[in-house]
């Protein structure tokens, strides 16, 4: 989550969920909080009962809006304009929390005079290289003093200090402009801006909550960045009742980011070695990824400990701890480019585990037709699903599909033990309740078994390419004899390895502070170090709640800190900003930080400690720099070079929009990635054939394959539907409850029409009305009691340049009454003829370079 990561230092929600109750105002935007996270929403309701104002900004009036104090409609995909408008309001009315901003953010840093803003380049920043379609970000930087430290003007007067750059950058985001871009009536926008300003400061705090409504855009990272800037300006980060709550989707989606199954990351947010970055040796890799100041000065300890965890005794200093075993990246290997590569024939084998791209993926037909070219597909799930049965889908001819398909029955959460990390970064261990039914096995069982089988198959190999498999430590037999007999590995042993241990005696380390870069320690994921601090303690299994931040309930990374950057809850001198918002403070007598949480700061570091330009790591920071992960210890209003598309967020229209960008000449994100191919057809940027905004979402009652077969849930929302406003319904002759067909250049789907006054056309500019159509993403055509088309068939693949996330929330479409035509089976042509396909090459197989950039 680099939107948060580049601003604050860590890519995780800054908030401990129950702390939302302490907010004085909560802005929910990019999230249908009540519907998507109903149980966490109880804290919002509690805050409301305590007098907090709840604001919901969303394209649709949802169940969240229903209980909010204030609802404002917005055109999907225009949140930067909306939040930018609030930033402009806060800056031009001097409503920011000046003491906080001056001390804890880089507002006073002086931006390089080579930097040219969007104001002067009609929506582009300095450094654009039209040939490579990318920015040279070197001008997005700060001026430095002679000792290498950053030049700062804490009086915030310098014309090129970040705050003044911000002022100028957002000056065109006026309430009139917000209304023109977002369709939000000015009076509502101003009310919200004022509510946030008046509920922030010393005495009050406001919290933001977002979810995939902000991220699944070609500008998704910058949405989150805008919110981060605003929350820093309002002084709400690191304080009780403040922060940014990233409401994540799946049960372990945070865990799967921390201990990533993501192509570009190693555990603990260490980058994956890349052939594109000259990281051929460990030395080079560490040079590239170790920072002089801030916490990332510790990178070598974490990398070496990880390699020791992977390759055990084989990993030695003299062989760079088997660093060379790690595969090297040659491009973007994320799911979308991989799907194209699969379609083009270079991917032969595919594991799909607990995910159903055949229904919930974008351009689901592309996904399915890509799987036709696989040699084999292995799927682990609980139920039949659209992915594993892709060869039976509507329009397919199974007799022409040569893919060998294996469905392995998975064990449900009740049938296995282990840990999941929830959205506030809290690890929670679950015990096993019952034996898996039938032949079902845990995923752990399957992975362990496959590893053992491959080790056996390669046992006699002398080929150096097979060394990683043979040297990989792979002993997770269960402590319990009966479990061992069933082949069930010990999740606890895996967790112990993740926590880390001293190589010499195998004893677990107490925390990441104990990790070393000399090979004496091993740790599978440094940020999780401390979860099992000794042989008998599993803090993820802690089940003591105490009504405060409940440090005994589960274990939060890092180091069990619940609210991140909580040093900022005290003023620079270490005293609480106010009695009402007291959280962590400096106890001058005991000379330590104390309060209601684990301090996210060196416990004994005096607030008066000066910064030292010559020091390494966080010793370079002063005692008043709360963002310890960052180079300068401060919150980043202006991000220098860490994101590829912008140091400051600028509003760009979605790839497929209904209007031209009112703010800049630049229509959409200049770096967004798209693939113009016959099997991935886009609507034009502004396309009169597709005049309506299409947005997608999920609903409370359904998730996907994990719910569609449960009759209790299926009866609550039994069929795919779309939500449209009454005006459009009348215009198109659509009756409530009837079937309609929604189409894009890519394809069409049918759904039942739910005509509701909750959907209202937006008024933009003079008399222009914009209709938005909403379609839930929970359904699939092939299986389940609840059935219907998925909007996956409508959405051509496109991608944000920072994190390769797809754009699925803001699209364009057409709609007509009646059902769609049936799909007829036929031959599937290769999208890219074989002759044109590179045999091998960076990116070529994986779309990044094959795909066109705009």
């Amino acid at each position: 989550m680099p939107g948060l990561g580049t601003s604050f230092g860590r890519g995780g929600a800054t908030v401990w969920l129950p702390d939302l109750e302490n907010a004085d105002c909560i802005l929910i935007q990019g999230s249908n909080f009540a519907e998507a996270h109903p149980v966490a929403f109880r804290f919002v309701m509690k805050a409301k009962e305590r007098g907090a104002t709840i604001i919901h900004v969303d394209p649709r009036f949802t169940r969240t809006s229903a209980v909010a104090d204030l609802y404002a409609p917005i055109r999907s995909g225009t949140d930067i304009a909306f939040l930018g408008g609030i930033i402009n309001y806060v800056l031009s009315n001097e409503r920011y929390f000046r003491d906080y901003v001056a001390a804890y953010t880089n507002a006073g840093s002086i931006v390089s005079d080579n930097f040219v803003d969007t104001e002067d380049l009609d929506g582009m920043f300095s450094g654009w290289n039209a040939e490579t379609n990318s920015y040279d970000t070197s001008s997005w930087s700060f001026e430095r003093n002679e000792d290498g430290s950053l030049r700062r003007d804490v009086s915030l007067q310098h014309p090129r200090c970040v705050l003044n750059v911000l002022r100028r950058h957002f000056s065109r985001y006026t309430p009139e402009m917000v209304e023109r871009v977002c369709g939000t009536p000015q009076h509502l926008f101003l009310k919200i801006a004022e509510l946030l300003a008046s509920n922030s400061g010393r005495e009050r705090t406001s919290a933001f909550a977002y979810a995939v409504g902000w991220t699944q855009h070609t500008t998704g990272v910058q949405f989150v960045r805008t919110a981060a800037i605003l929350q820093l300006l309002l002084g709400n980060i690191g304080r009780p009742g403040g922060g940014i709550m990233a409401l994540r989707g799946h049960a372990d989606i945070q865990g799967a980011t921390d201990v990533p199954t993501l192509y570009d990351l190693l555990p603990g947010y260490l980058p994956m070695p890349s052939a594109l970055r000259d990281e051929q040796t460990l030395t080079r890799y560490l040079e590239k990824n170790t920072k002089k100041t801030g916490w990332w000065a510790n990178t070598p300890k974490y990398v070496v400990s990880l390699l020791k965890a992977f390759y055990g005794d084989a990993a030695r200093a003299e062989n760079e701890f088997c660093y060379a075993y790690l595969p090297q990246l040659v491009g973007d290997h994320s799911v979308l480019p991989t799907t194209f590569a699969m379609k083009d024939g270079s991917v032969k084998g595919y594991f799909v585990i607990g995910q159903n791209p055949g229904a919930s993926g974008q351009n689901a037909e592309l996904v399915s037709s890509a799987m036709e070219r696989l040699d084999w597909l292995v799927n682990i799930d609980f139920f039949d699903n659209e992915t594993v049965s892709f060869w039976k889908r509507e329009g397919a001819d199974a007799t022409t599909i040569g893919t060998e398909v294996f469905f392995l029955p998975g064990a449900t959460v009740l049938e296995k033990e282990g840990t999941m990390t929830q959205t506030s970064r809290v690890l929670q261990w679950h015990d096993r309740a019952i034996e898996p039914l039938g032949d079902a096995k845990s995923d752990l069982w399957y992975f362990y078994d496959l590893g053992k089988r491959l080790k056996a198959l390669y046992a006699d190999s002398q080929d150096p390419k097979d060394r990683p498999i043979l040297d990989m430590t792979w002993n997770y037999d269960h402590e319990d004899e009966r479990e061992r007999a069933s082949g069930e590995p010990s999740a606890l042993r895996v967790l112990h390895e993740i926590n880390g241990f001293t190589v010499a005696d195998g004893r677990q380390v107490a925390g990441f502070a104990d990790l070393a870069d000399d090979g004496s320690t091993a740790s599978g994921c440094w940020i999780y170090s401390g979860v099992c601090p000794d042989a008998t303690t599993n803090r993820a299994r802690g089940r003591i709640a105490d009504g405060t931040s409940s440090p005994g309930w589960g274990w939060a990374w890092p180091a069990n800190r619940r609210t991140l950057y909580n040093r900022a809850s005290a003023d620079p001198a270490g005293n609480p900003w106010s009695e009402r918002k007291k959280y962590i403070w400096w106890d001058a007598q005991r000379r330590e930080w104390t309060g209601d949480d684990v301090p996210d700061f060196p416990k004994g570091k005096d607030p008066a400690t000066p910064a030292r330009a010559d020091a390494i790591g966080i010793d370079a920071h002063s005692g008043a720099d709360p963002f310890i992960m960052n180079l300068d210890g401060r919150g980043q209003l202006f991000v220098a070079g860490a994101l590829v598309d912008a140091p400051l967020p600028a509003h760009y229209e979605p790839l497929q929009s209904v209007i031209e960008n009112p703010l800049y000449g630049q229509q959409s994100n200049p770096l967004l990635r798209e693939w113009k191919r016959d099997d991935n057809r886009y609507n034009r940027a502004v396309d009169p054939d597709f005049p309506y905004v299409l947005t997608t979402y999920r609903i409370t009652e359904m998730s996907g394959i994990m719910t569609r077969y449960i009759p209790w849930l299926a009866e609550l929302q039994p069929e795919a539907f779309c939500e449209i406003d009454p005006e459009l319904a009348v215009e198109k002759g659509i009756a409530n409850g009837s079937y309609v067909t929604i189409s894009t250049a890519l394809g069409e789907m049918e759904a039942r029409a739910l005509v509701s006054g909750r959907m209202q056309p937006l008024r933009i500019g003079k008399g222009q009305r914009i209709h938005q159509i909403g379609i839930p993403y929970n359904y699939g055509r092939m299986v389940g009691f609840a059935r219907g088309d998925s909007p996956g068939g409508l959405i051509a693949l496109s991608m944000d340049p920072n994190v390769s996330i797809h754009e699925a929330k803001s699209l364009t479409c057409a709609i007509r009454p009646g059902r769609r035509a049936a799909r007829i089976a036929g031959s599937i042509e290769a999208a890219v003829p074989d002759a044109q396909r590179h045999e091998y090459g960076a990116g070529a197989a994986h779309g990044v370079d094959a795909g066109e950039r705009r």
């Binding site: 309701m45 509502l188 409370t700």
Partner: protein
């Protein structure tokens, strides 16, 4: 000690956890998979197998600032009336008032006559007429039941031609000191369970709080609803008239009509007997 529910529509987010938690605990089947187009309500009503049901009331009003939308949700349930039509009607004594003051259907006694169904002024109780599984009985699919429990349910329901079903206020859970499944699940505590006197007090305070905030809050069933029914052990806080939530504004306890009915029948019988006497045994008749 009487217990009950206070269901507060202003705290409801319409998530329907109550419906599912109830079905899971009471092992009830689904009522079918039909899209209604009525807001987010696809279960439509309380039934013999749906004992909690969430109403979705969409309203639009136009004010100076444009169109104002509101969406009020309420989890409906058996009211457990002080004087319950179903209980009075039940000819077998299957429906009893238990030690918690709740109206409880004893499925082992119920003979499925259906008289309770038409005797409920709130349209709550209904017959469970079939339980099945799989495609042949998708409407009543209980795909989640263990075989033995499914068979038990089949014996109890299908073979007997139906039994009456409605909320038990989780009598079985209350017996061991547990909170009813719906109230426990409810994420926002819109459904509150407790001793009825406490709940009424809480409800009245809540109404005052909301009214002070300018919310058009009103209680339904906290006090006597009239018609001889008395107060409801499951009562509600509404922000609209009862009809908007499919609740009767003026419910009446059916048994209050019995005296008049018997009198009318007696009148007719006596009249006919007199005429008959005259015809058969009177002067003319005997002649």
């Amino acid at each position: 000690m009487a217990t009950g529910f206070f269901t507060d529509s202003t705290l409801c987010i319409g998530c329907k956890a109550c419906e599912v938690a109830c079905k899971q605990w009471n092992e009830l089947p689904s009522d079918g998979f039909e899209f209604t187009g009525n807001s987010y309500d696809n279960t439509s009503q309380l039934s013999g197998t749906t004992w909690r049901h969430v109403d979705f009331v969409e309203r639009e009003s136009v004010d100076a600032e444009g169109i104002a939308t509101s969406w009020s949700m309420l989890s409906d349930v058996c009211k457990h009336c002080t004087h319950a039509g179903c209980l009075e009607a039940c000819p077998t004594g299957a429906i009893i008032r238990n030690e918690f003051g709740s109206v409880f259907v004893q499925p082992d006694i119920c003979n499925g006559c259906g008289y309770c169904v038409v005797s409920c002024p709130f349209g709550v109780i209904d017959l469970i007429e079939a339980v099945g599984r799989g495609d042949d009985a998708a409407k009543y699919s209980v795909a989640t039941l263990h075989d033995d429990r499914l068979n038990e349910r089949k014996t109890a329901v299908q073979a007997t031609g139906g039994v009456a079903g409605k909320c038990t206020l989780c009598y079985d859970r209350q017996r061991v000191g547990m909170v009813p499944a719906c109230a426990k699940a409810c994420p926002t505590e819109s459904i509150q369970f407790g001793e009825i006197d406490d709940l009424r007090e809480r409800a009245k305070r809540r109404v005052e709080t909301l009214q002070a905030r300018g919310v058009d809050a009103r209680l339904y069933g906290a006090d006597d609803v009239g018609g001889g029914i008395g107060a409801l052990n499951a009562f509600f806080l509404l922000t609209d008239s009862p009809e908007a939530y499919n609740l009767p504004a003026e419910p009446v306890l059916p048994s209050t009509r019995q005296a008049m009915g018997y009198a009318a029948a007696a009148f007719a019988a006596l009249t006919l007997a007199t005429i008959g006497w005259a015809i058969f045994r009177g002067e003319g008749g005997a002649a």
